[in-house]
Amino acid sequence: MKIVNQSLPKMDGISLVTGKPVYTDDLAPKEALVVKVLRSPHPHALITSIDKGRAEKMPGVVCVLTHQDVIRKPFTRAGQAYPEMSPHDKFLLDHRVRHVGDDVAIVAAIDEKTAEKALKMIKVTYEMQPMVLDMETADTMPPIHPEEDIKALANFGHDPAHNIAGRVDFELGSVDEVMPECPVVVTHTYKTQGQAQAMMETQRTYSYLDVYGRLVIVSSTQIPFHVRRILGNALDLPLSKIRVIKPRIGGGFGSKQTVHSEFYPALVTMITGKPAKIVYTRREVFRGTTSRHAMTFDITLGADRDGKIRAIDMKGIWDTGAYGEHAATTLGSAGKKVLTLYNKVEASRFSGKAVYTNHVPGGALRGYGVTQGIFALESAMNELAETLDMDPVALREKNMIRKGETTKLYNMVTKGAGDAPMYMDSCLLEECVSRGKALINWDQKRITPQRHGNKVRGVGMAISQQGSGLPNIDMAAATLKLNDDGFFNLALGSTDIGTGADTILTQIAAEALGVSMDKIVLYTADTDVTPFDSGAYASSTTYTTGNAIIDAADKMKSAIVTAAAAYFQTTEEHISYQGDQLICYHPEDSITLADFANKITYSTMHQQLCVTGSFIPKKAAPPYMAGFAEVEVDLETGKVTPIDFVGVVDCGTPINPRLASVQAEGGIVQGIGLALYEEATYTRTGKLIQDTFMQYKIPGRADVGKVRVELLDGYDETGPFGAKSIGEVVLNTVAPAIADAIHHACGVRIRQLPATPEKVFMALREKTLDKK
């Protein structure tokens, strides 16, 4: 391997850092109308009247649109493979608003200030409806979605009459039989908050009609092909009339896996025929898009006294907010990709319901449910270790999945898996744990917490896995074209949202074709010219798109060999493709790829070699990680300071070790934000309080301590050159490891994130009072 497993620089890096105009808003036409959305100030209300007359008459206003002006048709904004697994419960500009920030009307004007002024001129009368703000009681409240025409395409128990967006239930063995036999049983409740993706570039889109009158959408999205389909559905347009292009993306983390800013300029362009653009404000992102689904999980673990875990029971409630976007799928992941970590249990059970409330909708965020499930299960594991008076590492070592092992759960929860056991042949979880333990100096630090005055240091740990793409669900394709002078165009529908995917995929193509990187010219992603790709989510790009490239490269090599055989007037078995050279053994001859490409283009054969490969994952290929945290707790204030975090990751072959390590470092810091800083709370009238970066605290560089990452030398035979995924797994262990480190330091358990100074302080006070 010459090009993969090399830390090459990101190909677009210099342009990005030196400020080149490459993002959506940099490219929007200057004459584009500026679109603004009027958003609901109420959590749940019916619009009884809406008067747009004054706004329309304002000079500079081109159009004002409300529910009276658009087609009424249910759809989902969640970007997932078709048929979507999220319910079709959203109407564009509905007459019922379901959360503070829901869309009410849009204005298009010649500039931003005019559009903003016009928003204030729209007179809306609302009739308040009962608010549903508590997920625990949501299913007993009047429905948020009483409409009869909403529907679910997939069967996840959608029951809008009871505010249920979806249910997920599965069981291995019988928990009711095994649990009562267990001598040690631990039960606790855990809660995580609606974390924000907080990508630095907010959602933004511009649109125009091309010379053929087709609608062109240029958008900061993770999912160009899903955008095309979802827009077509929502606006009732044939997909052949829509083209979606993504330029450089300023971060995604799941935020752009749901269609938001695309609808409004598209509507304006369709109605006025003029280019239009929208740039979301930061507050609009917080109130009007999605966040991680907040959850409550009850976990019961049953074990023998020697630490053998026999039964796990997970029961969860998921707050999907006003719409069921990604609800049942994130909820399912919280069980499927979590319970499979402990494959030696006799029984495990998962039962969860995702409920509608009048909160900001839940959506996709790095980790996609697994983060929440891991926090709950791994925290419970650490509490079980305490109950058993056992080292948490030893408890994991006794119970976790290891190389070559499997569990029937994999067959139960993987689509199209069949009955044949799915062995985790590439699993290096055991090595992740032992290496992490050594790096943080666990054995020494875990004995006694270090105390200096009022400050105490403790260590904690957790393990995690994730997926690599979605088996039998998400497909990627790659098109390769051989040009004169012997270089290749590689067209992909995948989206690099900042991870370096474009560079990594070029590395894979160059390696597979045996040529240098400069012989590969990559283009992503444009639904008119690049082949299909589900998009940048579910940790799929390296694994799924990478495998599609390998398929395309194999087809290209065989097309070249066939053409070369004709060129040398021989048969294919006498031709050897060697990247820059083609060797013919009989008759003995050779030609450079550049000369050959020139010849077949211009002089001898006159043909264009162009092939498309595709790939769909067939088997679960989970990456694994062990995370070890050291924190310092200030006993006087309750403030928790992260000191050190060690993450050891098995991502198979890292195609680009440096970019993979930075993925891990970034994921760990998002995990620190989830664990300690990022609060999402609501007023009693259903308004999100932390709706700008003034109130919503994402970690800054002085807030994270030392972050250390080590990638193990893994290899998964189903991955491209042995690669598995890395994007999401890296976030999950952080919160449970930090929560356990806090407990180790000062003896209090934080079961509800984030572990703010206030929560830790109150818990410390309670503990002291209990002692007295």
Binding site: P9, L16, T18, G19, D25, M200, L659, V662, F693
Partner: protein, 173 residues
């Protein structure tokens, strides 16, 4: 109303409104390396220099630049490219959206702190948020950049600070 200012060394006479923020005026006039992240002066993405000092252009009224000198990332191409090389080398570029603001603040830091320690770098750049990298790779890149500067200075190549053109060097605070 008119705004008389200097942008990247060029005198400019721009038509603005009294309530325009500087970031919007700069972007409308083609300085697209200036990006916006938060609208509330919290994330540092929109950092530019006003008379050589870092300012947050999303919370600064454009008229405040009347008679002053603005520098955007487009005005420091060599310095930006030097820092960019270290960022890319460390994989610290990622989505890149926050980096033009961070680069501008690194250049300002260089004016104030001769040879910053790790703590000084973290403290100085606190206001430049990044959601992708987790900061560790950025720290490595920034340290490598200052190593280079130290080396250049010891070899007498650069008099002082990030503005290589002495005439545009900001005054010491």
């Amino acid at each position: 109303m008119k705004l008389n200012t200097t942008i990247n060394g060029m005198p400019k006479n721009l038509e603005i409104r009294p309530d325009d923020y500087l970031v919007d005026v700069l972007r409308a006039n083609g300085y697209l390396g200036v990006r916006q992240g938060c609208d509330t002066g919290n994330c540092g993405v929109c950092t530019v220099h006003l008379d050589g000092k870092s300012v947050l252009s999303c919370v600064l009224l454009a008229i405040k630049a009347e008679g002053h000198e603005i520098t955007t990332i487009e005005g420091v191409p060599q310095q930006a490219a030097t820092i960019a090389n270290f960022f890319v080398e460390q994989g610290a570029d990622q989505c890149g959206y926050c980096t033009s603001g961070t680069v501008m603040n690194i250049l300002y830091m260089e004016q104030l702190v001769e040879d910053p320690t790790e703590e000084e770098i973290k403290h100085f750049l606190k206001g430049n948020l990044c959601r992708c990298t987790g900061y560790a790779s950025q720290l490595r890149a920034i340290q490598a950049y200052f190593n280079l500067r130290r080396q250049q200075k010891s070899e007498g190549q650069v008099p002082r600070g990030g503005y290589e053109d002495e005439n545009r060097k900001p005054e010491s605070p």
